[in-house]
């Protein structure tokens, strides 16, 4: 984005910026600065990611042998349930929006803050409260219903902490709603002069689409949790067959949120990838409007496909047909994005910096995840691989291969802006490679396992499945190491990393027009936008960075 900052502000590392403007715990816990709140989120989602990851490690250890010999079945069931709950509700859903979105949206649109800074802080407190409830439940044995909480198992047949975890998710849900609301209002009302909708970075479009889902979907899961709670505690029947209810209604309400929730995870990651591809190919995204509208298309269509989780759940086969064709349609905007990113590389000026490697990893893994999703939307295939490891592999390609690659790519890209520091190039490139390899070794065998018929959520399994399971467990070790590497060098760089300039990648975008780290009010001079995003042809190009190796 070309801007006319007049007079040209100094882009030297400032003496006072948002990180050192105030000190002490209070200055963080009561901050209303979106940048500081983003860092609060960064710390908290990392904690939950680590916990969820730890459980994944234990799950893979158990599955290295066919007999359930490491844990008792009820322990194993709690592990995979809590793994799902922590990863989905406390890492993936808040991940990119609440950390990167929070930090960057005001910067990208030239605003001083989000529209409702106090509500933004409230979101973080709600998230933390929800997380504490869930951790408290974890200390009391956790939950063993699966993260899907299917009735009547969850209401009548288990005596684990369903209620506590439900309350935790309920509270965290409101955090998600408020974040989405804040983003929508901010994007509508707080844009800098000249920043029209079609001059917005695609990251902002992705978050706008995400926010729509957060606003429209999350309340439905909230009320569904309340109904579960009423049924469990007060025996007020909604889903219980003994009380005249229909347990499949629960599945409809649950997936009405939880399917679009997948797009809460992936749309922001797509936004990140669009930024990375444009920056590191130094050219505009091929078909900007197509990509922008594809985000909105995914968000809208995403609300019409929930029934594809119930093809074999006693849903009428004609309902299955309708949901199948709608699910096919949602693949089209996703395909458009992949093609447009690829076309952007054509005649680009491509550098192989770390964030770009993550972006390419995203494109590859998301393509496989998306295409296997198309297989699952195909009725005849889903009837066989439903609830097998094929599903597990598919959604990990989307959520881990997609959302987490996007998240890490984004963190590597904006880390210099967030902290004002650079991280080691060699180690970061190595981490991208290790994660990519580890991921594929972990999850690719699971596609085969699934087609062979290994059901998900099995504590023990027939011995002929062992070879592929051992491969998967071995890959998980590599993947785990890959995730530890950024943790180490990011922490290292905060203290020892070389100082970053305002625009180390030579990127366009308003966030690079201010200092690294940005001042409390984001810009010393209110930016005015005069051109579409990614206009590299007229921008002063060239890295200012002094990389370290």
């Amino acid at each position: 984005m070309t801007t006319s900052p007049n007079p040209a502000p100094s882009l030297e590392a400032p003496r006072t910026h948002y990180l050192n403007a105030a000190y002490g715990l209070r200055s963080w816990l009561f901050t209303r600065d979106h940048k500081r709140i983003a860092l609060l989120y960064l710390v908290s989602v990392s904690v939950f990611f680590a916990l969820g990851g730890l459980m994944a490690v234990l799950i893979r250890m158990e599955l290295a042998t066919p007999d359930g010999d490491l844990f008792q079945p009820d322990i194993y069931n709690r592990l995979f349930t809590m793994h799902g709950v922590l990863m989905i509700f406390f890492f993936l859903i808040p991940g990119i929006p609440a950390v990167l979105g929070n930090f960057l949206i005001p910067l990208m649109i030239g605003a001083k803050d989000l529209a409702f800074p106090r509500i933004n802080l409230l979101s973080w407190y709600l998230y933390t409260a929800g997380g504490l409830f869930t951790l408290w439940a974890l200390l009391h044995g956790g939950v063993d219903t699966g993260w899907t909480f299917y009735t009547p198992l969850s209401t009548n047949y288990v005596n684990t902490s369903v209620l506590t975890v439900g309350v935790g998710i309920f509270i965290a849900g409101f955090s998600s709603i408020l974040t989405g609301l804040n983003f929508v209002i901010t994007i509508h009302r707080m844009r800098a002069p000249g920043l029209t909708w079609f001059r917005l970075p695609l990251f902002v479009w992705g978050h706008y689409a995400t926010s729509i889902i957060q606003i429209l979907g999350t309340p439905v899961i909230a009320i569904t949790i309340l109904m579960i709670a009423a049924e469990r505690t007060l025996h007020i029947g909604f889903f219980d067959p003994k009380l005249g209810g229909d347990p499949v209604l629960f599945q409809h309400l649950f997936w009405f949120y939880s399917h679009p929730a997948v797009y809460i995870m992936i749309l922001p990651a797509m936004g990140v990838v669009s930024e990375l591809v444009a920056t590191f190919a130094r050219k505009p995204i091929f078909g900007y409007r197509f990509v922008a509208f594809a985000s909105i298309g995914i968000a809208v269509l995403g609300f019409l496909v929930w029934g594809h989780h119930m093809f074999v759940a006693g849903e009428s086969i004609y309902a299955g047909v309708v949901f199948s064709v709608l699910s096919m349609l949602v693949a089209v905007p996703s395909a458009i994005k992949v093609f447009n990113w690829t076309a952007t590389l054509y005649k680009g000026s491509i550098s192989w910096d770390t964030p770009m490697l993550y972006a390419l990893g995203f494109i590859g893994l998301f393509t496989i995840g998306g295409l296997t999703g198309v297989m699952l939307a195909t009725l005849g295939i889903d009837a066989h691989v439903h609830d097998t490891y094929f599903i597990i592999a598919h959604f990990h390609y989307i959520m881990v291969g997609g959302a987490i690659m996007g998240y890490l790519g984004g963190l590597h890209f904006w880390w210099p802006k967030i902290t004002g520091r650079l991280y080691p190039v060699f180690w970061s490139k190595l981490s991208a490679l290790v994660i990519f390899i580890g991921f594929n070794v972990t999850f690719f065998p699971q596609f085969i396992l699934g087609y062979l018929g290994m059901p998900r959520r099995y504590h023990s399994y027939p011995p002929e499945f062992q070879v592929l399971n051992v491969m998967s467990s071995a890959g998980a070790t590599v993947l785990g190491l890959g995730y530890l590497m950024p943790l180490v060098y990011f922490v290292w760089s905060m203290r020892y990393g070389p100082r970053a300039t305002a625009n180390p990648w030579g990127a366009t975008g308003l966030e690079w027009q201010t200092t690294s780290p940005p001042p409390v009010e984001n810009f010393t001079v209110r930016p005015v936008v005069t051109a579409p995003p990614y206009t590299y042809a007229s921008a002063p190009a060239g890295k200012e960075a002094a990389d370290v190796g």
Binding site: A111, K112, D113, L114, A115, F116, P117, R118, I119, I177, L181, V184, I185, T186, H188, R189, M190, I215, L216, G217, T218, P219, V220, A222, I223, T224, L226, M227, A230, L234, H235, I236, G237, F238, L243, G244, G245, D246, L249, H252, L253, E521
Partner: protein
């Protein structure tokens, strides 16, 4: 949503103008109400499904509700929407006393609604129409009649919870209203509260026919 407006200056630091601040607050409130619609939406979906599956049981259960109390409450709420609108008007034209008086009236009507609702609930307890171990219903399909009462308590309970929150906020607004906290230039909070109150009123306008009236002619 316009909690941002309190403080030394009533223009928050990150807004450029009062206009921008007001637009943000209004849009924020509307968006919040959209989430509220979907929050109630889950229960409405369950109601529609079960009503279509068990029309007879729902009709029989619906007959036990007191239509007079329901109608009275509808009138009370519509009246309270009027007083709420007048309270907002008082803010717009800068008449703190009007705002105060009308907020007080809204508060009174809202409390009346809750009082009537409490009477209805007590009646349900008395007749063992509360779902649970003690539930008892004279009719052919007691199981699905119980489902009706689950939804009745779920929907009216959630609505009543919104009323209680509304009444509490109204009570907190009385002193600031008298102090003249809302001026023609900035009455975003008052206006947001007005939208909220109308929304809660509107939910009841849907609940009343769905729970009390449909199938009454049989």
């Amino acid at each position: 949503m316009s909690v941002e407006t309190h403080g030394a200056s009533d223009l928050a630091h990150h807004f450029d103008s009062y206009e921008q601040q007001k637009e943000s607050a209004t849009l924020g409130m509307w968006t919040f109400l959209v989430t509220e619609i979907l929050f109630f939406g889950g229960l409405f979906a369950a109601y529609s499904l079960y009503r279509s599956l068990y029309p007879e049981a729902f009709r029989a259960a619906s007959h036990t509700l007191d239509i007079r109390l329901g109608a009275l409450n509808t009138a009370v709420l519509i009246g309270s929407s009027l007083t709420m609108a007048l309270a907002v008007r008082g803010g717009q034209i800068g008449k703190p006393k009007v705002t105060f008086g009308m907020l007080l009236a809204t508060l009174a009507l809202g409390s009346t609604f809750l009082g009537v609702k409490a009477i209805e609930y007590a009646d349900k307890f008395h007749h063992h129409h509360v779902p649970g171990a003690l539930f008892h219903f004279e009719g052919p399909d007691a199981v699905h009649a119980q489902l009706f009462f689950s939804l009745y308590f779920g929907m009216t309970g959630l609505h009543a919870l919104h009323m209680i929150i509304g009444v509490a906020i109204l009570a907190g607004m009385l002193r600031p209203a008298l102090r003249g906290a809302w001026t023609p230039r900035n009455h975003n909070f008052l206006e947001g509260m007005g939208l909220y109150w109308h929304f809660v009123d509107l939910v009841w306008i849907f609940l009343f026919p769905l729970l009390y009236l449909i199938g009454r002619h049989h």
